[in-house]
Symmetry: C2
Subunit: 369 residues, 2 copies
């Protein structure tokens, strides 16, 4: 049988993720596997937790990686907190907000939804009105809506909820490591992300943090978490001082993420955020020169995920195919309501470099000519 | 901050998993990441499915890898099939049978348990009696009980259930790739495993297969699967012809498993099974020379997982520490009822080689002197 791995090309990954990975991270992935209770692996996990806390700006003890992708993070957030009939408010302005609604509903929550047009941010005033009228156990929102490129006002919503009994769940799958995140200051109880976007590692892990308040809610449930694999009390006992076996840690993925976070912190998060901003502005300027428009108004744009309107008369799929086949560049198509209407250009991880912006703009110039 | 990855030693992993990994698999892990819809990745996934079907001896279309460890496989098996109050029989003769009971119970199943002493196999006659008395939607068993080193009579139980409406779930976490598995012939409806044991890849993926009958049961549920992340209908739509986005495939782990399976099939499964058997027999002979005894009677012993009774007067933990620190060899301790009473010596994946058996026996000779 032909070994297809030998034909893997190096693609410039400018879609919604996974994105490009620094060479040091690839090297880290192939370090020798260690046992799930090995003392050296325990030290690596401990330092990994410390780095995650720095990037999230939290002191939460339960700050770990789940052995699954960012979607497992969403599942874990809700399955540990939702009890049947519990009241949940999800703020929806895109595909991933809809997914959050679906995840919570499947777990038996009584889900209310506040919807906002795709491409616009969640309106804090509407949220304020809703949470003053009704009492919710959980409010959930997507920080960076990957389907539209909108940044939601996570800090402002957190300020609204301060002092209430509501647990505040924030999806940072696309935002963490690319824009500021101050979990504790912003009153966030639950945060989860993924390895393959702004953190600069391949997919497979989900960094996650639960506040003490959120952990107390999980521990105080009437019934056990109906998901043994993602039960955070059990998982916390493994990551904690006693290292009680739960499931086998995916050591090599952990090595990759450890290396990726080390590189980010060495660069300095402020520098990383500036780099993201600059490359985003360079991309937007170049796209405008090509007469292309972004879906989102300027104040609400994410630097790492740019939804670009497909110009009239252009077959969007054939553009993506030509970019991939002739130029070895991947960009993303639209999801849900926006399928066929936008391209999604990601500038995340090792992808967010000026030379990559120039390479894409050069390729687009030829393909759209 | 010190980069702890630079101090990772090459440990001879002779515990219950993870086990050693061939050099080609480490190389595969660090191939360039591809997008989750990339046409070349789709070809890799398709060939991976074909290789999994060969190793499982199944024609099931839904034969995939889950983005989680073997424990996610157990969770997926039950969460897709269990409906509240549904009757489930779990055959328990060790720690992982108990885990299966716990997973099913958390999902709201009405769980019956048939228990057998740890270190002995499930008694098919007792199962026969039980399933003639009662009607179950699901019967679940562990093929290779990793806590004791016992092989359960999976084929015989499958024959018992043939013609009934009961779905037969088999945990092949420790068995797959090390002893024969004939999923379709043995009437198995659901099979799951892990990447890091006999398949010879680091941890992080769970190969899984559902029969048509099991998929029909999942599709015919009254309520949606209360776990969006592990919903096999959705996951199947991604692995199927239409490649509908569900979550981001952990591409680099997939490369590792692809390479590992390629090596196994190149060697030939019959040859692999003989190699396991030979190395097991060499280990047992060497242990007996050292006056050590196995927990399990000869006819029920697994070749890949050997539970060895800790000799009286020996501090089992200090032996394991010396093996790890002085000889760079990891063996496992006991779990549950057997904590402190046995060592678990794994001969799986790249670990199952004669030179490794000799190295361990030499080290034990020195440590136990």
């Amino acid at each position: 049988m032909k070994n297809l791995l030998e034909d893997i090309e190096e693609v410039l990954l400018m879609g919604p993720g996974p994105n490009c990975v620094p060479p040091e991270v690839y090297t880290a992935l192939s370090r020798k596997t260690l046992g799930y209770l090995d003392a050296h692996l325990m030290r690596i996990l401990e330092d990994l937790q410390g780095m995650l806390r720095k990037i999230m700006n939290t002191k939460n003890e339960l700050t770990i990686t789940l052995s699954g992708t960012g979607s497992a993070g969403m599942e874990a957030a809700f399955v540990n907190l939702v009890e049947p009939g519990g009241r949940v408010l999800i703020l929806v302005n895109g595909f991933f907000g809809q997914r959050m609604q679906e995840v919570a509903a499947r777990l038996g929550a009584a889900v209310d939804v506040l919807e906002f047009p795709w491409g616009t941010p969640v309106d804090t005033k509407a949220v304020e009105k809703k949470v003053r009228q009704e009492s919710y156990k959980i409010v959930g929102v997507i920080h960076a809506e990957t389907s539209t490129g909108v940044q939601n006002p996570v800090q402002e919503i957190g300020a609204l909820l301060k002092g209430s009994n509501t647990l505040y769940v924030v999806d940072a799958v696309t935002s963490l490591g690319g824009i500021e995140m101050r979990m504790d200051e912003w009153n966030i109880d639950v945060l989860y992300s993924c390895s393959q976007k702004c953190l600069g590692c391949p997919p497979g892990l989900s960094p996650l943090s639960f506040s003490e308040r959120a952990m107390a809610a999980a521990a105080g449930r009437k019934n056990k978490v109906p998901n043994w694999y993602l039960d955070l009390t059990l998982i916390g006992n493994y990551w904690g001082k006693n290292h009680v076996y739960h499931h086998t840690t995916p050591s090599n993925m952990v090595y990759g993420l450890y290396q990726a976070l080390l590189l980010l912190l060495d660069e300095g998060m402020e520098h990383v955020f500036s780099r993201y901003k600059e490359n985003h502005l360079a991309l937007v300027a170049g796209l405008e020169e090509l007469n292309m428009k972004l879906l989102v108004e300027k104040p609400y744009r994410l630097p790492m995920l740019n939804a670009v309107l497909v110009p009239e008369g252009i077959d969007e799929l054939s553009v993506r195919r030509r970019l991939r086949n002739e130029f070895k560049i991947e960009i993303g198509g639209g999801l849900g309501l926006l399928a066929g209407k936008v391209w999604r250009i990601g500038l995340m991880g090792y992808t967010s470099r000026k030379e990559n912006v120039d390479r894409l703009l050069g390729a687009l110039r030829q393909v759209l000519r």
